[in-house]
Symmetry: C2
Subunit: 192 residues, 2 copies
């Protein structure tokens, strides 16, 4: 019973990269096989449901990754300013400085969009809620916090699309840099 050639976490990392590069429809089993170094049959051993299974696993994987890199720093103790800065560093790393597409975007298109409708909605809502909660704790009124949380997600998603269409990541970095000012507008500098 030979051990796996690479740990399952690395398989998921490589599947994620392949889906991000080609989209759901464009990520053929041939490409997924090449990206992971596993034969088709091995992929079906890990993911009996085939490509759909792989995409679902990727969705869960990037969700956990996002939680660790972006939401966890935001939820720690201490003043809101440094926590936002750590969140932004996390976003920058998660999206590879603007080069990586977001699976919310990729998996929202076509066949995948129907298959993962519920997962996508829950995921976006969860992130918006976590952001709004952090802003609320920092003293931003609830309704405003909710809108600003949503605006934050809108901003980095839009920046990713524009960066990709332009072939220039600079807009992503600029949008991230301007997030704290927008999120904490009209707040005292030490607020939270």
């Amino acid at each position: 019973m030979p051990a796996p050639l690479i740990p399952k976490e690395e398989v998921l990392e490589r599947l994620t990269a392949a889906f991000r590069a080609h989209g759901y429809e464009g990520a053929s089993l041939a490409r997924l096989s090449e990206a992971t170094g596993l034969g088709r049959a091995s992929l079906y051993h890990y993911f009996p449901g085939g490509k759909r299974d792989m995409a679902a696993a990727v969705l869960e994987f990037v969700g956990a990754h996002f939680e660790r890199l972006v939401l966890a720093p935001l939820g720690e103790d201490g003043p809101i300013g440094p926590r936002l800065n750590r969140m932004i560093l996390g976003l920058d790393e998660f999206y590879m400085r603007g080069e990586a597409a977001c699976v919310w975007d990729l998996f929202g298109i076509g066949r995948a969009g129907e298959a993962f409708r519920d997962e996508l909605r829950q995921s976006v809502d969860h992130v918006c809620a976590a952001l709004a909660e952090a802003l609320g704790r920092a003293g931003v009124p609830t309704a405003i916090a909710k809108a600003r949380a949503e605006d934050t997600v809108v901003a980095f998603q839009g920046a990713l699309v524009v960066a990709r269409a332009r072939g220039d990541r600079s807009v992503f970095e600029r949008v991230l840099a301007e997030l704290p000012g927008r999120l904490l507008a009209d707040m005292p500098p030490a607020g939270g």
Copy 2:
């Protein structure tokens, strides 16, 4: 020599709808054929280069459509406020109140992203420049106008992604409604 069953403009409209619904990879010839009501061979008669040709035509078609609905009202004479409002009405119509995906997003992914790299970059740059020019004419300093123009595109692109992932267009409408305030921040109400 029988006349075409439907005018070419309608063919392009239906192709656009199909690409928007399924993405580039997901829009198979079978689907494009079904969407237009034309057989495969007829599609190849209109677009000898096949699917790539159809996508290029769609890109040009939506570009002209965007020009007419969004940029033209912005470039008219008169105060900036009403012109921005007409632009927003145009955006709302162009993106079907937030339901339609943007081809900048769809065609930026995978194989299409490589094929249409230059067209996408030019298209985004053109729209950003037109927006920046309008803001500049209204008295917004050039550097700020450029950033705000880019932010506008980022905002509605991000709103489209979030709206689709959430299955709820309301964020798109909210983002559009807030555009004038963001674009004309720190400007006298009659500016322009």
